[in-house]
Subunit: 222 residues, 2 copies
Amino acid sequence: MASSTVENYLKEILVVTLETESSKVSMGQVSKVLRVTPGTATAMAKSLERDGWVSYYPRVGVSLTSKGKKLAMSMLRRHRLLETFLVETLGLDWSEIHAEAEELEHAISEKVLEKLDEFLGRPRFDPHGDPIPSKSGVIKRPASKPLSEFSENMSVRIESIVDQDKKFLKFARKTKLVPGQIFKILRVEECADAMTLKTTKGQSINLGLRSAEKVLALPFES
Amino acid sequence: MASSTVENYLKEILVVTLETESSKVSMGQVSKVLRVTPGTATAMAKSLERDGWVSYYPRVGVSLTSKGKKLAMSMLRRHRLLETFLVETLGLDWSEIHAEAEELEHAISEKVLEKLDEFLGRPRFDPHGDPIPSKSGVIKRPASKPLSEFSENMSVRIESIVDQDKKFLKFARKTKLVPGQIFKILRVEECADAMTLKTTKGQSINLGLRSAEKVLALPFES
DNA sequence: GACATAATTTTGATTAGTCAAAGTAGATAT
DNA sequence: ATATCTACTTTGACTAATCAAAATTATGTC
């Protein structure tokens, strides 16, 4: 049985792996995402390796074993299903579900999760638009890319918000910058580090490119 | 912040306090309900006292401080609301909800609990018929008593099942020995350690007195 | 009152997870 | 190629929670 600490390490290692698209995650990254000192991350890497969750390459980083990946995927599934439940069923605010799911995901059993999945109608995406891994651990990542990479005059459909920063999430919500919404890219000003979007209803939003990197979208054919 | 171990100790101490109706709980009882060795219970009693959750009287036992009682009540509330949710909303089996709620109760926040309470329509009793403490920690214990203490020819209304044993819960469910049901006590045979009940529909059930002690009921005036 | 028994406490040890601070190894720059 | 900087590892220490087994204290019996 993995402790919830182990579950957290594995989940975060998986998330970083998916984000960076490189199989090894450095101890620096691990210690940063888990908010522990580097020494702690190293110590943990060793015991994760001892228990067969990861391979540890000193001074390079860790990569998930298949056993580790399986558990990490299952954690991601729990997390995203719980977030869906918290928003859809209980009506919690979008900006607070992450922390809540973070706690609950370690306590919910496979059995309850299965019932919850059924109750929710087996959703395939969470409220952020991120895909929910299937029971067998398969995850379909749609070919979305950051808003910052689209060019002027394209229409896009928001897919997900990568960032978990509370303030940004609140802003995103207020401006309807949420999964499913359609926008047209009015202007992209590389030199001014900004872009302008327009909703289908004509409202326009100014977005720094830094923030635009955090919003994934698909091209939208109208 | 109390660890979930502390939460468990306090909750179980509260449950024993309510059951035995005496304010001090001996270390023997504590070590039994929490399935730890006596030495562990003693060590824990000291640190619970250090942190202001209980008063510890060496060689006598512990009693909850008001701070400890408050947290313990809140745990009981979480537990019972979660059990209600697991049965009512997710349709889990009566016999498996206890263990599930035991895990989830440490992970659910006040905010989510509040939303859950609202979603469930602010129930006042859990699926076992046990009262759910209010947010402020008030609990109404109905004046029910064990089936074994009723006499022949009385009609009773089942209030709750004290035991958490899986097999017994399954049996209880099958024979409709569940909260709300009405039975007539046909016979009580102290010497044979058994009693016979009859449902309103005429079916009869044989119950050992040992088991009858675990079923609480109220006299029922028809 | 002395002795056996049961309950409780002490003691010594272990594991998981953590930090601070000192040490080491690679990469980078001059 | 040497010095420096940064990332990583090691070391030593701490807390929470636990157990096993020895020591202690009540309790009840004769």
